[in-house]
Each structure stands twice: as structure tokens, then as C-alpha cells.
Chain length 143, copies 2
């Protein structure tokens, strides 16, 4: 079932799909709680262990001042802890607190209900397509 589409059509189509789905994801913000941006940053911290703000902003593809704000909010909620860098006084190390880790876990289970439910309605074949596309799209965003 090859879809025949010009490159322009594909570009427009993909952009549209991305922006709409993103809007939808933002809307589904569950009680409590963290925004998509905050959760993403927190998750990067768990994966990366302790990161500096610079490393974290690189990982999240935002500018450093943006990350300052995101981290500030996570800190307010006690989900991230800041400690001095052992050898470089300019830098700071960020790490999730125990509560932060807990929050991530509970989100992994609870959070994406809306999207998970939608995905569950797809055929196995469609899910497979989406899974492979997700990897490809991540690659695009990273590049």
C-alpha cells in the first residue's frame, strides 16, 4: 500500500500532522502537574544521570535561558536538585530528586492515557508504521 505523494505534499502533510497532534498533546494535561516540556526535561535528567544546564538544553534542543526557566519550575516543585560541579565553579549539576523519579514513573503509567488509547485503537500494522516513523522523526529532530 504505497502512498504516492509528491515531496511537497509530504512535507506539508507531515508538518500539519505534527502541529495538530502537538496541540492535542498539550491540551491533555493531567491534573497535578507537569507540562510536556517539564516532563521531557525531567526524563532527560533521569536518562542522563546528572547533567549541567547546558547539557540539558542541548539534549532538549532549547536555548540555555529557556532551560533555566524550566529547571526553576522543576526545582520549585522539588523534583530536581541542584549541586555544585566538583571541579568547575561555573557549572551546576542537575539531578532528579527521589520525588522526581517517582513522578516520572507515575507519569509513564498514567500520563499519556489519551495518546495511548488512540494508539491502542490502531491496527497492529498501523502501530508498526507509527513506531518506525517515530524513530525516523526523532532522527530528523536531532539532526
Amino acid at each position: 500500500m504505497v502512498v504516492s505523494m509528491t515531496p511537497e505534499q509530504l512535507t506539508v502533510r507531515l508538518r500539519d500532522a505534527i502541529t495538530r497532534l502537538n496541540r492535542r498533546l498539550r491540551q491533555e494535561r493531567p491534573l497535578g502537574d507537569l507540562t510536556v516540556t517539564q516532563l521531557s526535561a525531567l526524563t532527560s535528567l533521569r536518562i542522563g544521570g546528572a547533567l549541567t544546564p547546558r547539557e540539558l538544553s542541548d539534549a532538549e534542543r532549547v536555548q540555555p535561558p529557556t532551560m533555566t526557566k524550566i529547571v526553576a519550575k522543576l526545582e520549585e516543585r522539588g523534583l530536581v536538585q541542584r549541586s555544585p560541579h566538583p571541579t568547575d565553579g561555573r557549572q551546576v549539576l542537575l539531578a532528579p530528586t527521589a520525588e522526581g523519579l517517582e513522578v516520572i514513573d507515575s507519569y509513564q503509567r498514567v500520563r499519556d492515557e489519551w495518546l495511548a488509547a488512540k494508539l491502542a485503537n490502531l491496527t497492529p500494522d498501523e502501530r508498526d508504521t507509527v513506531a518506525r516513523a517515530a524513530s525516523i522523526l526523532e532522527g530528523l529532530a536531532r539532526a
Copy 2:
């Protein structure tokens, strides 16, 4: 090459890919020019012909006040025209101006250079996967 992934992994992975790619798309704002949101609304108007603000906000999945602002910006630029509803004095009809249509066309060609270039680097197989996924994702966002 079937990717084996739990539903949770897929959900998280997809959300991540969407948000990151969306950030990237926002950043690539070309000179001139319309934001992704504005272009999307304008395109909906071209497809839908003349729509009321309510219809347009439904189509774009935003709340009416949000659409009021988007339309105001498009109007400022002379890309959208407002006319009274023939039978209902509360409503308003929105339609793209000639210039608005022209702008859409030029964007279709010029705008998504960044994304188009990325897509061009994919293998035909990957492009096909992305194309099919785009349709599926649009369906998700719509539902």
C-alpha cells in the same frame, strides 16, 4: 524490520518525537511571514471556503478566543477578509483574500525548506513509512 516495543514505550517515544520535531519546526520560521499557526488557519480557510470563526476554531482545534487573535493577525496583513453572515447577525464569515491565496501558494513552494531537505535525505522506504504515518497521525489528532 519490525520494531518490537511495548505500547508504553511507543507512546512515550511518539510523544517525544512529536514535541521535539514541533520545536524544530517552530524555530525554522522563514522571513516575512507567517507562523505555523497562522498558515494552518489560512490553509483551513482555503480548503473550507468561507468559515465562521467558530467553525475555524473547531477545525484548528483551538478555543474561539484563540482563533480571534489568529484571525486578527491575518487580517492585519490583509490575508483574510471578514464579511457579515447573510442570515445570522451574530456570526461572521471569514475568507482568504486574493493575497492570502497567493501567500499560501508561495509557502507551499518555499516555506518548509528545512523539513523538505530533511525528508529528501531519507531513503525511499523511510519516506514511505513517514508518509503513511502522517496520515495515521492526522487521524489521531482529528479524533
